[in-house]
């Protein structure tokens, strides 16, 4: 567990939508160097909690600070240089090349009257290389497959170069090899580059393998947060996902399979 001062601090934060409380009085410190998973059943509020942590939606109650500043009072562009959010889906109403789409991530770093510099373009190309999109730069994003489009979105997030990365289902649509590559990439960004990564994930075995801590939403506003090994226990998970789960062991590694 990292001892650096926390980037994002939630104190008594309650998140709700349409009069329904999804997460009540959440206390959470997110520190540089850690990867935190957000898990729970469909519709339980993972995305809403994530966008609240991103400062895009005001909490019903409680205080949320980034770098010690109330997140709601930060200027949008300054906030965008400190935290990135990978959305769950991507809209492509108009034609755009992969390069231009990745360069969108540089927006908070570029002045209103300036154009993308050679440095911005280099950052975009490096980001594309990290998700194996080399050679894709001139393709129209509307001609890409779902998995390729998802990797373009990840490259745009990398180009944004924020210390706090919030990911809403980062491995949806991806082939198994890209799922592993992507999660290794984000785990590396947390553990080696000292960023903080928060990811909504569905596969418990990926959580076990890549994440340090986990926030489990169990419905009715209740939640459990702690080290992965402490929270991911068969009885807790079986209750949270409404299906019995069995734990298998392979040496020190643990796996969960539906019973």
């Amino acid at each position: 567990m990292s001892t650096a001062p926390p980037l994002l601090v939630a104190r008594g934060v309650s998140v709700g939508i349409d009069g329904r409380t999804l997460c009540a009085t959440l206390d959470l410190d997110i520190r540089p160097g850690e990867m935190l998973a957000v898990i729970g059943r469909n519709g339980i509020g993972k995305s809403t909690v994530l966008s609240t942590l991103a400062g895009l939606r005001a909490p019903l109650a409680g205080a949320l600070t980034l770098d010690g500043m109330p997140i709601g009072s930060m200027a949008p562009r300054a906030l965008a240089r400190r935290r990135a959010l990978l959305p769950q889906s991507h809209e492509d109403a108009f034609a755009s090349t992969v390069l231009d789409t990745v360069l969108v991530g540089r927006h908070p770093h570029i002045g209103r009257w300036s154009d993308d510099s050679a440095h911005d373009v280099q950052v975009a190309f490096d980001a594309m290389a990290r998700v194996s999109l080399t050679g894709f730069e001139a393709r129209d994003v509307r001609t890409l497959s779902g998995g390729e489009r998802q990797r373009v979105a990840i490259a745009a997030l990398l180009a944004q170069d924020a210390p706090l990365c919030l990911l809403d289902e980062p491995v949806t649509h991806l082939d198994l090899d890209y799922q592993m590559d992507t999660l290794s990439l984000f785990a590396g960004m947390a553990h080696d580059e000292g960023r903080a990564v928060v990811a909504v994930l569905h596969d418990l075995n990926q959580v076990l393998r890549f994440c340090d801590r986990v926030l489990l939403l169990t419905g009715g506003g209740e939640w459990v947060c702690g080290a992965v090994d402490a929270v991911l226990q068969p009885d807790t998970l079986s209750r949270a996902f409404c299906h019995p789960l069995r734990e298998l062991r392979d040496g020190a590694r643990r796996y969960f399979v539906p019973a």
Binding site: L56, P76, A78, L79, P87, F94, H107, E137
Partner: protein, 333 residues
Amino acid sequence: MQPPASGRTRAPRRRTLALPLLAVGLLLSIALSLSLGSVPVSPAQLWQIATGGDAGVAGDVVLGLRLPRVLAAAACGGLLALAGALMQVLLRNPLADPYVLGISGGASVGALLAMTAGLAGALFELSAFAGALAAMALVFGLAHGEGGRTPTRLLLTGVIVSAGCGAAVSFMLTVANEQSLRGMLFWLMGDAGVAAPPAAALWALAIGVLVCVPLARDLNLLARGDLTAQTLGVPVLRLRLAIYLIASALTAVAVTTVGAVGFVGLVVPHLMRLALGNDQRLLLPASALAGALLLLLADTAARTVIAPAQLPVGVLTALLGVPVFLFLLHRRQ
């Protein structure tokens, strides 16, 4: 990984030349339009008039008759194309046009009411403008709901308000007397022949371009979705409100000046996007210039091809716009 030597995948030269080329084209079309008509005016005479010389009857025709109409057509073409480009980003729909949110419907009701009441001149324009603003307020007021004024909700509300206005227009046409019927039909199709003085449209165009170009970078992000834009630091709700009000006001001024000319606001931003890409910093000014150019040429044709009779310019823009648009749509599939 190294970027390719050219750096960007766009064609930079085409982008830098686009605005000067369009501006020169617009100036040439203004000269052409001023010289064509029942009293032909030579380039030498035009030069004489432009430099303040006395060119007799030709001077009166050019300055008194043709220039106001030329300026009105060009300014309104620019307004409609700019408003169309803005609406397409606001609704994130390349098929949106300035009228899709009911502005022209409201203006038509206002204009026809004024004609029925026998109003003319400034009162007539005021009535059309009030109609446009009323439709705008109605759509804006009704389209509010959970999640704000989303593109879909705005679009649906606009379509329904337009349909209501269409019914009111049909009713007024049915009960109109013979004398005013022809004027009403011309106005509904868009007619620069009875254009209002161009000053308001020129001012609106200048202000519109000056306000929108600084917003263009943020609009580039808005075109990629509200969540993406918001995440990257764009104040989405405020920007959407500003764009909605600006585009509506520009459209209202254009419709009040030349009537509900169709297709300029749809086809011009489309053509510019195909030629220059979707960077709003270039697309918005290029659309304004190209819209001015197109409507001016169309109006010049409208008053010369079957002279001495005149076509309403909206008929020509639709005749040009429909095949061009179908071709583009077909090519895209």
